[in-house]
Symmetry: C2
Subunit: 412 residues, 2 copies
């Protein structure tokens, strides 16, 4: 089974599941507003029928795009009721005009939805350094709002796609303190887009009742193990945004403090975020493989993470996987270059349970088994550092001709 | 003029200059000992007729290859008389046997040269995880030593080459405190080699009289602006080594403390190291361009360096240059992702003096001039951060189909 068939299979699954993707109190929609030139959807709206507790995690890039700046400010209240997002234009590096445009589109949505504009969050992805076609956007917002419907998450997801090859939607239901709680997450990928942002957007909607502080903690933890655990090309965009809205419509007892109920919520939230993040890696530009990198026996989780990312970001490692070469030398070198103090004699390395390296040397005799593993589309790399109990998992795509083609041959 | 003709031109220049590459008291040689299978030279020896003051800078990779471990130990005396180096095998990830082999080859050279084996430094580059063919090496060392001659630097350089496409030798003469001082530096490149090390080796020989502490300081400073300022693919090998030997044969007054003479020496040493480093970038695997990245107006030199490397290591930036696209968005995003606190409105960006970005926005109207610049083989990127007086220059190669081909299609 090749990767495209996996992608198509996944798309089919998405279509089937779509009909049931309902989160009480939420409606959504996505339309073509004329920002993208090719007629695809480019403007999305997500709305909760009452103000929701809200939290966000944003890019740490020093040059934050206008919508990111606005959302960070607005989320200080811990509350929001709508997310308006566009693709085709990132509204980044657009100065004071960009901030005005972002506020203006939020205002238009607020008017159409009859809510305060402070309740509207915004997100943008696409070309940077160009002003938003704010006239087109404002003009289409009323009809976007009129089309809001409980089954609209799929349309909203389409409206934020750029170079994504398949949609990214995840949905879970679970009974928490006697009530059925739903979560739906949508995302768009880290495909490099005009003119080269690796923007990742993700919005999560839940009808759980969770106070905004707990919501923020749960989101940060989930993001750390998902979107912050993936590496397509190590580039961080000006627009990366993850927002969660929790409107409490499920009627559960509020998930506050440390409780079994909160753990249950964290579990499904983390699962959704991890699946979305993995689908972004799988859809990485030119990617033919996903490499799962689990680092164990580190002194601390932080050290495990450092080592995992040193491997995940190595172009030499990424090209070796594309070439289907079980090249342990490149991985050992990347581990050594991580900045973590290690002794090579303590380190062992496995691909899908097959040992490649231990006691300071390569393991011989597994060549034929390894050549089978290297053909797979998901390969699990396990590194044991022999220094403690810390662990971390990261996920990387391989580095291919298509990555170079896509990114060299796009012209601004 | 395409890059290959530049490379060939450089090779011609090397050949002409070679005849005069003499450093008083030094002899060198390089031969084929049978480590490489293709008959090319793979064993080199450099010898000073008296013990030289010596200093080294080595990889910070936690998994240092056997020869690196031995050199760090031996250089504690600040003295050495010979360097024995092989290509075709890195003697890395070879455990206790690797250390024994490295000591054994040094011992053979010491016997042939009739000096203490503590005076012999060793270096290796090539495949990792395989034992050195120590029998072959030991057998050929006597004839290697017999062939030592004052014009042997070119042969020694050939003996350390791996995937290098052209030789890397630099030579300077200068009168310092009334005496003519010579320096010759040789290097091999960061081409990714079996099975994927980006090993860089460089040896510098001078007849200047410099005490070993001053020598170390001069070397560290020179390396910081040269080998530590280049990025081919951000990978750091287990074997990276720079060694300098200064035998004092020029008879100058010792270059100690802070003096004009020391500055003069630093200048030619830095120049040699910078030229060698640039030739490594030019010869980066699959490279079609060298991108010089000068970051100015940073708060500190450290901040300038961080920003320069954030650009130099960005795959998105490197592919854009390969595609000849003046994609300022990718550079601005890489600057923002550097971890340095910056305001986008203060930043300006130039390619070969042509402004692309300032006051938070792209500069329009230079498209045709820029499309000419993008065709060049050396492009100077200047970034002004507007926050202070710190500056740093880094050098990167572009990321090409050939990089992927070379690194994906080598099989261990």
């Amino acid at each position: 089974m090749n990767l495209m068939s996996v992608k198509r299979g996944q798309e089919e699954k998405m279509k089937q599941e779509n009909e049931n993707l309902v989160v009480t109190g939420f409606t959504a929609n996505g339309i073509h507003a004329g920002i993208k030139e090719d007629g695809r959807k480019d403007l999305s709206l997500i709305f909760s029928d009452r103000p929701a507790n809200a939290a966000g995690v944003f890019t740490t890039n020093a040059f934050k795009a206008a919508p990111v700046i606005i959302d960070i400010e607005r989320l200080k209240t811990g509350e929001a009721q709508a997310i308006l997002a566009n693709s085709g234009n990132a509204n980044a590096a657009t100065g004071a005009e960009g901030l005005r445009d972002a506020r203006a589109m939020a205002k238009s949505a607020a008017i159409a939805l009859e809510i305060s504009d402070k309740q509207v969050l915004v997100a943008s992805t696409g070309i940077i350094g160009k002003r938003l076609p704010i006239g087109k956007i404002n003009k289409r917002i009323p009809s976007l709002a009129r089309g809001l419907n409980p089954s609209g998450f799929r349309d909203a997801q389409e409206g934020i796609m750029t170079t994504d090859q398949f949609p990214k939607i995840e949905y879970r239901k679970r009974v928490i303190s006697g009530k059925e709680v739903s979560i739906c997450g949508i995302a768009k990928g880290a495909g490099m887009i005009e003119p080269g942002m690796a923007t990742m957007l993700s919005f999560v909607m839940t009808d759980a009742e969770v106070d905004s502080e707990t919501l923020k903690r749960c989101l940060v933890r989930g993001v750390d193990e998902s979107f912050n655990a993936i590496s397509v090309d190590g580039c961080m965009s000006t627009n990366d945004t993850v927002i969660i809205l929790a409107n409490g419509r499920a009627g559960n007892k509020s998930l506050t403090g440390r409780s079994r109920e909160r753990s249950a919520f964290q579990e499904i939230l983390s699962e959704i975020l991890r699946e979305l993040a993995l689908s972004i890696v799988r859809d990485g530009e030119g990617a033919t493989k996903v490499i799962g990198i689990r680092v164990e026996e580190a002194r601390t989780r932080e050290e495990a993470k450092k080592v995992a990312f040193s491997i995940a970001r190595s172009n030499l490692v990424k090209t070796a996987f594309f070439g289907q070469d079980p090249n342990w030398g490149r991985i050992i070198s990347a581990i050594g270059a991580s900045g973590v103090a290690l002794s090579v004699g303590d380190v062992s390395l496995y691909f899908d349970q097959i040992p490649l390296f231990n006691q300071g040397r390569g393991v011989k005799g597994n060549e034929s088994k390894l050549s089978e593993v290297m053909k797979k589309e998901y390969i699990q790399v396990i590194v044991k550092l022999g220094t403690g109990k810390g662990f971390f998992s990261a996920y990387a795509s391989d580095l291919t001709y298509d990555y170079v083609r896509i990114n060299a041959h796009y012209h601004t």
